[in-house]
């Protein structure tokens, strides 16, 4: 009898190995850092499945892929499965993913939030690309909505604190760019607003984000936003009745004003098309408001009157280019924050503290268009690189410049 059981098992095993999936559809893969429990990854996964459905390709997903050799293994597995296009969603995936791309030259590898693709391309590799989106525009719009809310709160109660709070994950450019653009959006409505920022040191930690938001609220912040992947801060705001701008997911709470997110579906569909038609994929792709990569969530119950109309107005101006988020005339830096230790960065301010010029590795990132001078975020590289601490924003728990 044991022989019979072994035989049965062997048969099933061989059946499995000999290939069970024999569809003709093109296969596309996605590697995510966590699963759908994290709003960040859920955003990617939902967009991915939708894009694959829309384009008629077969999705391969591996979740909980760490930022280490397991990423290379996972990518190799997908290559073996026959994937022609592989995405990855976390910053630390870049190097391990690149390892896999070196051994699979005929497969396209697209890494979101990364910064090395330009360098790889210069070295002659054609199949590794980075992508991001101009989320700073989305945050600016969310900031406008927050500004309108703050304005209405001030109208109802002039003693309302003109301070807003932000729960950030890390102190590097991606987060700083986001928080600054949100702040500038609020500032465009309420010019005297200031902002406190506290960092948690992790992308995803429910308890820390909740407690950080609590600390900000009790430190006098009237509105809270975040760049962190759990619902800790929205929950805290809900408990304390403070208006909240979320990231990567709208909520049903009464304190919810608006949210912003990157919609990856346009990018995924674009890449799938490129692979199908044999066209090259951009080394640095930046999704925009125009092509739907930057989206605002629904307007929530806590939003002020007239938010929708104002947002449409500002959105049109952003698309047309008449309003620039990082318009250098709208913000200043004090001398302490302008003294950057990093020798590869050279910052020049005018007498009032506005930026005249900012060179990173010799490249000038301040541009002029339509008479306005602005920091050209996401134009030279898809991943954000605005990393300055402007006046009005206080980083509470880190010595900036670390």
């Amino acid at each position: 009898m044991k022989k019979q059981i072994l035989a049965l098992t062997a048969m099933l095993a061989i059946a499995g190995l000999a290939g069970c999936s024999n569809t003709e559809k093109m296969k596309v893969g996605l590697l995510t850092l966590h699963g759908t429990q994290s709003t960040y990854d859920k955003n990617f996964i939902d967009a991915f499945n939708a894009a694959c459905d829309a384009k008629g390709v077969e999705p391969l997903l591996q979740s909980d892929v760490g930022e280490d050799a397991t990423c290379t293994t996972a990518a190799n597995k997908m290559v073996q499965e026959g994937a022609k296009l592989i995405f990855a969603d976390s910053f630390g995936h870049e190097t391990p993913l690149h390892e896999a791309s070196k051994n699979a030259k005929e497969v396209e590898f697209c890494h979101a939030t990364g910064v090395n693709a330009a360098g790889y391309e210069a070295a002659g590799e054609k199949n590794f690309h980075n992508a991001f989106a101009s989320i700073y525009e989305g945050r600016y719009l969310a900031g406008v909505a927050a500004g309108l809310k703050l304005q209405s709160m001030l109208a109802a109660n002039p003693a309302t604190s003109k301070k807003i709070g932000y729960v950030g994950a890390f102190t590097y450019a991606e987060v700083v760019s986001g928080l600054t653009s949100w702040y500038l959006g609020v500032k465009s409505i309420v010019p005297e607003v200031t902002m406190d920022v506290k960092f948690t040191g992790e992308w995803y930690h429910e308890d820390k984000e909740r407690d950080t938001a609590n600390a900000l609220i009790d430190g006098g912040c009237s509105i809270i936003s975040q760049h962190a992947d759990s619902m800790g801060a929205p929950n805290a705001c809900d408990a304390k009745g403070v208006p909240n701008i979320t990231y990567n997911g709208a909520t049903n709470k009464e304190t919810y004003v608006i949210s912003s997110r990157i919609n990856w579906q346009p990018y995924f569909e674009h890449c799938i098309e490129c692979v199908k038609e044999g066209k090259p994929i951009e080394t640095n792709y930046t999704g925009t408001l125009e092509n739907g990569s930057v989206e605002l969530g629904k307007i929530g119950p806590a939003a002020a009157e007239g938010t929708e109309a104002k947002l449409n107005e500002v959105k049109a101006a952003l698309k047309a280019g008449t309003t620039k988020v990082f318009d250098t005339s709208t913000f200043t830096l004090n001398s302490a924050n302008a003294a950057i230790e990093d020798a590869s960065k050279k910052l020049d301010l005018d007498a009032d503290g506005h930026i005249k010029s900012y060179k990173v590795n010799g490249t000038e990132v301040i541009k002029t268009a339509g008479g306005k001078s602005y920091f050209a975020e996401s134009e030279i590289q898809s991943a954000p690189y605005f990393d300055l601490n402007i006046d009005g924003i206080t980083f509470l728990n880190v010595e900036y410049g670390n």
Partner: protein
């Protein structure tokens, strides 16, 4: 912020976290007092989330739509209805947690399997089940129902105004169990009903364990099962009872975590698992005494949360995170060196009892 301000600011969050710990701690204390070291507590709490979810969905799908809802009203009908939801949640989460305890007891008491291994297996299984089934429930709108249910769980007894989603909010309304007022002291005393249930439970369990016959027998089984057996106590029965009831209580902790701490916004078991492991530490920290556990879990939750309220640089912040664990180690060491009998672990903790051949 100075220390008092930090205390006031963090207290609502600390209280919710401490209740999650407390449910788990009470449950595991009962189990350990009978000699069962249940490393499966993180998994059991995940079972409880599933149970709580099922109970809430039953209510939201069948009872809530049938209710006449008046915005901001809290009359007799609402009181009965909302109490029913809380009861359903408790019953189902207790049942699922108890199921976890039953699996553990069956494997360790009846089948004499090793306790550590069984506990770890249960944790792995429970975490997977939790993730899998709650994600399943959240698909197709379940998460929206959870959010509404969570608002009801968050109703507290002292302020009877409830605003279902859609009413305009206003700072003077209570909100999710806490009065959004400027008086932090008042905030402390208005809590969701589950919080009071938990504190009362701790006291009751303490009394049962230490002042009743049953408790005495249970402790005897945990200290020295051979002697207890010789005295005619059915050791198996007590071990089963202790673990099943203990895990049931921990399951209610899972319900509390999802509905009140997370306000219905479930997003994965990993955080709950971490808290579950800390519950095991907490049982030692509170020297197997439910009354001490009330204070101990508050202290523990405070130590856990405090780094986020202090404005230090990030490296120090990451160091501060280690404090609860270091404190537990310190307590472990202290109680083993200097501990008197009543602060030592139960004598046969972690070891299965085999009745010798007659």
């Amino acid at each position: 912020m100075n220390f008092l301000e930090i205390l006031g600011s963090s207290l609502p969050s600390v209280i919710t976290l401490s209740v999650v710990f407390l449910f788990g701690c009470i449950g595991e204390t009962i189990s350990e007092k009978a000699g069962n070291l249940n490393l499966g507590i993180p998994g059991v709490m995940c079972f409880g989330v599933v149970g709580g979810g099922i109970g809430s969905l039953i209510y939201m799908n069948f009872i809530y739509p049938a209710m006449p809802v008046t915005a901001n009203a809290f009359g007799f009908v609402e009181f009965i209805s909302y109490s029913l939801l809380i009861l359903l949640g408790i019953v189902f989460s207790f049942a699922f947690g108890a199921l976890g305890g039953l699996i553990y007891s069956f494997l360790t008491t009846t089948l004499k399997a090793n306790q550590n291994v069984t506990g770890l297996a249960l944790t792995t299984f429970g975490a997977g089940v939790g993730d899998f089934f709650v994600t399943l429930m959240c698909r197709d709108g379940g998460d929206d129902l959870f959010e509404v249910a969570a608002r009801i769980y968050g109703t507290h007894l002292t302020n009877a105004t409830l605003g279902p989603a859609g009413t305009t909010f206003d700072n003077s309304n209570w909100h999710m169990g806490f009065i959004a007022s400027d008086n932090p002291v008042a905030n402390i005393f208005s809590q969701p009903s589950l919080v009071y249930i938990c504190f009362i439970l701790a006291i009751v369990v303490f009394i049962v364990l230490n002042k009743t016959r049953i408790g005495l027998s249970l402790r005897a089984v945990g200290e020295n099962p051979a002697t207890a057996d010789a005295a005619g106590i059915n050791t198996d029965k007590y071990k089963y009872m202790a673990t099943v009831i203990g895990c049931g209580i921990a399951g209610v902790g899972g319900l509390f975590y999802n509905m009140i701490r997370l306000q219905g916004g479930w997003n994965g078991t990993s955080n709950l698992q971490n808290l579950g492991w800390m519950v095991l530490a907490l049982v030692i920290f509170t020297v197997w005494n439910p009354l001490v556990a009330i204070v101990g879990s508050l202290v523990f939750a405070f130590l856990y949360s405090i780094p986020s309220y202090i404005n230090t640089d990030m490296v120090t912040n990451k160091f501060l995170v280690l404090i609860p664990y270091i404190m537990t180690v310190v307590v472990l060491i202290f109680t083993s060196i200097f501990g008197k009998k009543n602060v030592l672990p139960p004598g046969s903790l972690g070891v299965n009892y085999f009745r010798e051949e007659r």
